[in-house]
Structures are given as C-alpha cells and as structure tokens.
Subunit: 242 residues, 4 copies
DNA sequence: CATGAATGAGACTTCATTCAT
DNA sequence: TATGAATGAAGTCTCATTCAT
C-alpha cells in the first residue's frame, strides 16, 4: 500500500465505446498502453485515498499548463499555485508527465462519453454534426484547460508510447467526423463539391481552437456559441444571393 | 575574436523590402525595444559575413521550432540539424531567443507586405476578405514553420518586451479584419446576424490553423486551398435549401 | 504526543546480557559518543512500549539493508516490508541511521559475548582459532543480515563519531586474532614462515565474506561449514606431497 | 556527430573468449545488452575524440566510487575531485551510472583478457590455479578501485538489464574455477574430500576481498602477495604434522 | 567559421523527516 | 500506534551560453 495514490487509475480514452451514457465515469480501467509499457516492479500502489485533493491539484496544474505551455511550466509553478512546495507534488503524482497524462486522459474519456451518447442516438448527419459540435463546446466549457493543452501539446506527445491513446483517440475522432460528413454528402444535406478531408479539418479546427480564447462564464453559454458557429459553418458568412 | 555579425541590427524587420508604406509595420518596433533592453557596451559587430548561411540556419531552426516547440527545442537539436556543434551557432546568433525573434519578425514583415498590398487596392469587403485569405495561405505556403511557431508560441511571448511587436501586429490584424467584416455587413454582403467578433475569430482560426497540417508541395496549391476554404466560410457546408 | 521510546538509550549495546566481563567491549563507548553528539534537550522518552515490535522492525530493516545496501534502502522500502507507512517508523526509531546503529551494535555485542566466552577458556592457539571461527559462523547464522551490512558499510561508517565503536571493535578484533596467530607460531602449531598480518586478513576475510552467500537453513549447519573452512585454512586444499 | 563522446563504445566482458592474448584491448564491441535495451533514437554519437580525458575522469570517478560507495558518491564529489563542475561531467558521460558501467566493463574486459591467456596455456590444475590467482592479484594491482567497486556493488547491479554482463561474467568465472578445482581433484593434486563449491567460494573470496585493503605500491608486489596467499590456500597455515 | 570543453543556473525528482489527527 | 500530507535539502541531469584555440 505504501505511497497511497498515484495516477494508476486513470483510464485511456481508447476503451470508450461505452454503450451506456455513463457521463463523468471517473476512469475505471488503466489504459492498455500502460500495462504494456511499464514492467517496473509495480512500486506504486493502486487507488488514491483522497481523490478530491488529486482533482484539485490536477485542475490547478491544468490551468498552469494551459497558460504557460507544458514545457515552460515548472513543477514549482504548479506547486506555488497550489500553495505547497515542489517536492510535495510527488506525494500525489509520479511525475510532471503523469499529471499531464491524467489531465488529458480524463478529458478524453469524458469527451468520448459525450460523443458516444450522441452517436448512439443515430441522428441524421446534419443533426449529428450539430450535436457533436455542441457537445464539443460543452467540453470546452468544462475542460477548457485540458482542451487548450491538448491543442498545444498533443503533436509532440504522440511520439511517446505513454501517450499512444492520443493517437487512438485522434483516429477514432477522424473516422467519426469523416463518416458523418460522408453520410451528409450522400444524403444531400452537405454540399457535394466538398473536399471531405478539408471540410473535416475545417470543422475540427474551427471548433477546438475556440479553447484558446473561450473563457467560461463570459457572457456566452457553450450552447449559444455552438449555435453561432454552426450557423457559420453550415450556411457561411456571406449573404445568400439566392 | 569579436563575432563579426549578429542579428541585432542586420536582418531586423525594419530593413526588409517593403513595397508599401506600411505604416505601423510592427517590425519597426523591435529594434527600439532591443536597444532598450541591452545595455552592454556595443560588444557586437555589425553585419554577418554571409547572410545566406544565416538564412539557412534560421530556416533550419524554424523547422525544428515548429516541429518540437520552442521550449522543447534545444540549441543542440538545431545545431545537429545544421551539421554543426551547439556552440557554433553563437557565432551567428546572439541567443536562441534572437533566432526565434528573427524568424517571427521576418515572417510578420512579409505578411504585412502582402496584406498592405491587398489593403491598398481598396477592394470591396468580400473581395478584400478573399484576397486576405488567399494571401494568408500563400504565407503559410512560404513560411509554414514560422506560422506554426507563431500559432503555438505567440501567446506567452507577448509578455516579453522584446516581442512587443507581436502584440502590435495582432492588434493591427484584428482591426483590419474587424473593419473588413463590418464593412461587409454594412454593405450587405455579409450576414447581418453575425456576431462580428465571433466571425473574426472563426475566419482567423480557420485560416491559420491550417499551418498545423499544411505541407507545401502536397497536391493543393495555396490558391486552391484558399478557394475551398473561402467557399466554406462564405457559403457554408450545408446544401442551400432555397 | 511525545514519542514514548527511542533507541538512544534503550537497546544500546551496553545494556546487553554480557556473560563475561569483556573489558573494552566496544559497545560501551557508543552511549558516550551519542551523548556527545546529541545536544538536543532530552526530547525523547526512555523505553519503547513494545520491544518486540522494535525487534521485528529491526530484523526487517536489517534484511533490506543487507539486500540493497544502506544508502540504497529508503525508509519507505523498510516500511513497505513492514506493512506500514514510512512516517510510522519514526514512532519507533529516531532515524534511519539509528536503526542501522542498533542493528550493528546489537550484533557486535552478541559477537563479543561469544568471543569472550571462547577467550576465557584459555585454549591453545589452534583450538582458539577453531573456536573463534566456529563462533563466527554461528554469528553469521544468527545475524546474517547484520554481518552483511557490517561488511559492506563499516568502512564509511567509521568516519562518523556515532559509529566509533566499530573502530574499537575492529581494533580489538585485530588484536585478538594477531595474538592468537602469534601464539600459534611461537608454539609451533602454525607455520613459521607466515606473514602474520597477511594470515590475519586471510582468515578474517575467509570467514566473514561467507555472510554474502550463506543462507541459514540451507543444508549446511554453521558448525559443518566451520569445519570445512578450518580444514582448508589449516591444511590447505592441496594434497600433501610427503 | 553532435555531442562527441559518450560511453557507447565500451565492451561487455561477456564477449571475451578471445583466442589471441590481446591484452588491454580497449573494448571494441558494444555489449549485446545495450542494443536490446535502448531503443531511444540514438541521440548520442559513437566515438570519443579525446579518450584520454575520459580515461582520467573515469579513474577519478572509480577512486571516489571505491572510497565512498556508488550510491553515497554524488556527481559533485566526482566533479570536485576532477576540478570541474558537476554538470560538466555530462559533456563526457551520459550519466553517473554509465560511468560505473564503463569502469566495470573495462575492468572485466581486461580481467578476462588475462584469464583467457592463462587458460589457453593449458596448464595443469594446480598451475592453472596459481596462474589465475596471480593474474587476479595483478588485476587488483592495476584496477584496485574497479575491483573494490565490483565487490561492493555488483550484487545490486545484476538486477538491472544494463549490467547483465556482470551476471554473464560471474557465471563464466564460476565455471572456470569449478572446472579447475574438479580437474585438480580428479588428477589428485587437490584433496578429494573438498566440497568443491565451498572451496570455490573460499578461493574466490580470499583473493578478491584483498582489494578492500590492498594498496598499490605498498611494499608487496602483487606477485609476492599472490605467492603468500597461494601458500596458505594450498598448504594451509598449520604446521604439517607428518 | 567551427570545435571542444566547460560554466552555472535551474529543472525534475527523491527522500528522510515532521506532525496534526 | 499509525496515517496522510507535507517539508526542505539534496541529488541527478539538462541546457543556453561562453571562450580559447
């Protein structure tokens, strides 16, 4: 039992084809990746006795990471923000990197919970797109820092085995969107002349970059922003010339 | 003995071949800032013996910065990529940061050259928007790494006096776009129900994030991509239902 | 509030059940040294509430020290092995070092008890040597971990005032053996051409290094091993050629 | 080429069944273990341009390791002894551990060079034993610190994949000695009643522990010490009673 | 121009130890 | 007695930078 916590319990979002709505399920299974990567003699125990403190600290860390960038964030800055000494963080977490990992995997798990709920509703392509975008803005609202971190850091991270699940998630994400767009074209609700991959990137980037400027509680609710974005994405900004 | 060049006064953005008057070109401020920051007794000589080598090295550095992030990039990685030892870079540049600065200011100078040319043509708002977007994709094509760096790093850099010109540029950028959009609404070529600031961010992000996936020489010319993007931005991806 | 016990004055080697007078028993010095080292105002109470638990913990600690080396052993490893948390050990012991000290001083006290019994029997030199070696193997059998620790760590420990008694013991040990060997030569039971100091080291190392591979309960009794070793030490491994 | 040196060239002693005498061959092949363990993107270059400095630093490090123990030795202590700053060591070596590895592997390579020369002479068992012991004392003379380190640290190190070659060497060592002793018994030059494994440990420990007290240049040449040791090991310390 | 070697600041991390509960 | 959470010192290592050659 020794050191009581550590992030061993966080779940890789890869495993998330969960049939039930299960929102906010707090990550029950360890990512498959980890099991394969670590053959160290299991020096860390399994469950955290006080998940609240962990959560607080992770939220603080996420804010600093988002604000300053992962590399530019020293553990001392996180500790300062948490009102403790740098070394004390290591009572709760294995490493700076494991904080990052837990932040991202928690976010992705919840994101996929939301997406899966949408996808299981088997809406039409336009309604699916609307629901996915709206859900995305909700996630940005709830996990703004995590999204911002994801945007900025995921590129470098995918190189590391530990962050394999980012790649997995990305692929699933891409497939989901491409399928939706293709269905929309096939069903004549999206324009036939679209370059699907380009449209995918267009929608994807359009939505997620919002995390870089969105401030929760700033006048617009996520649903409002989603509606405006969807209006632009679907109908364009130009006046209809008939 | 004395290092013959250094970018402090040489390739600064001020000296670039600006075709247009370009008032408030942000690059102009950089040298002033530097002068204020450094009080060392003029220990550096004036011009680099071989500006080509400088340019090569900067291009290499930009690629590595874009690939790995500025903070995660060590000067050794740059030197490796350039086939030299880390210390040798200091014959050409004052510091890692000055490389970054030169990369960004060079890019911004050229960007504003292009933008200013467009703006002086006094086109209608829709044509202005089209021309600015197209020009932007051309810049992405020519300075992909610089754009990617700009996207990723500018947020924290603006805190430093040395990078004041980033803020200046951003403000001018925002004003240019907001004005164009407002003119468009006023002239009934853009939808009246737009949230202008949201639309600004929408267009801005839509364009620049492309730098994160665009690969020069990859099938699509910048003009083609611009056309497709414009089509989506202006007319939306949905089929017109009347 | 105040920790009830601590080994500072309790199980020190002085208080052990020494059957023989054992002048200069090295353990005697330890308390004096300690008193000199610690100037804290007697903040610790006298005796541990449950000396058995202390003993168990020390045995566990000794095993881990022997296995991994003193420096490489963290108090957390000891606590893990004892099924408690690292901080909890400090209810029982002042410090990691005081555990080490108690392990070593306990061992040395018992060792000298045994040696003194032998020496008081006033046997001939060969029989003395045989008895000392046999006694040594018995100590290895009973205190394998302590012996292994002693072998590995005593060299750097002697530099510390707290472990002065190690030096004292070593000197007494050396004197005992040299005397025995010299007597043996004088009485023509040991070879005259011996380099006494070399022979001393030979016998000493031969015996004690066994602690590094000896496993109690592993086929050979300490007495058997002693007999075999003595056979080799006394008569050599070569066949007699006369 | 970047960072110029690093210990990538050191040879595992496992590979040492070299037919030719080849003394002091400076380790040409990388240990098989390393290739299997490291899949990192080969960030370190291959050959050291100034092996002399490396050698000096390794000798210094070996002395400190031997004196204080590997764990208790801080890189700062090594750097102090070398007259430089701690960080500067990392220009020459990857890590503290890689210094240790290079020290040990260099020593073992030379040791096996010497042993192989002896073994290829196909002497009788007694002469082989004498030659091996003598060779061992010569190695102690030349690599005292490395031998002392080996004695103290090899136990913990074998757990690490990087030090696999220690296990390999140990097994080969054991086989060599057991074979020699068995031949001796079979050919009636060693006593028939020997417990071979015990005798092996007896001889092995007897020889190598000498590194803990041997000081080069201290009156006795390695050959003299070897002769005295052999005299004791072969014929015992007791006077012959027939 | 470039190298080789070093500096020094600061990063992440470990760990013995403390203490309120 | 033991836990949970923290402290603070110290350790290994990285990296931008310097400078004599």
């Amino acid at each position: 039992m020794s050191k009581p916590n550590q992030n061993s319990t966080s779940t890789g979002p890869t495993t998330s084809t969960q049939k039930a709505p299960a929102k906010k399920s707090p990550a029950k299974q360890a990512p498959a990746t980890k099991a394969a990567v670590k053959q160290a003699p299991a020096k860390k125990a399994a469950v955290s006795p006080s998940p609240e403190r962990r959560g607080e600290l992770l939220a603080i860390a996420a804010d600093v990471f988002a604000e300053q960038g992962y590399n530019a964030t020293t553990v001392r800055k996180i500790a300062d923000a948490a009102g403790m000494l740098a070394g004390s963080l290591y009572y709760h977490f294995d490493s700076k990197e494991s904080m990052l990992e837990e932040i991202l995997s928690t976010f992705l798990t919840e994101l996929w919970d939301g997406y899966d709920t949408v996808l299981q509703s088997r809406l039409g392509p336009r309604e699916t797109l609307e629901a996915l975008v709206t859900e995305s803005f909700r996630e940005i609202d709830r996990h703004r820092s995590a999204v911002a971190i994801y945007q900025k850091e995921s590129r470098h991270l995918v190189a590391q085995a530990r962050f394999q699940y980012l790649t997995d998630s990305q692929q699933r994400f891409e497939k989901t969107w491409l399928t939706t767009l293709e269905r929309g074209v096939a069903e004549h609700v999206f324009r036939e002349d679209l370059d699907i991959r380009l449209a995918y990137r267009f929608v994807r980037d359009t939505v997620w970059v919002a995390a870089s400027w969105y401030r929760p509680g700033g006048g617009h609710s996520p649903e409002e922003i989603a509606r405006q974005y969807l209006s632009m994405v679907l109908d364009g900004i130009a006046v209809r010339t008939t």
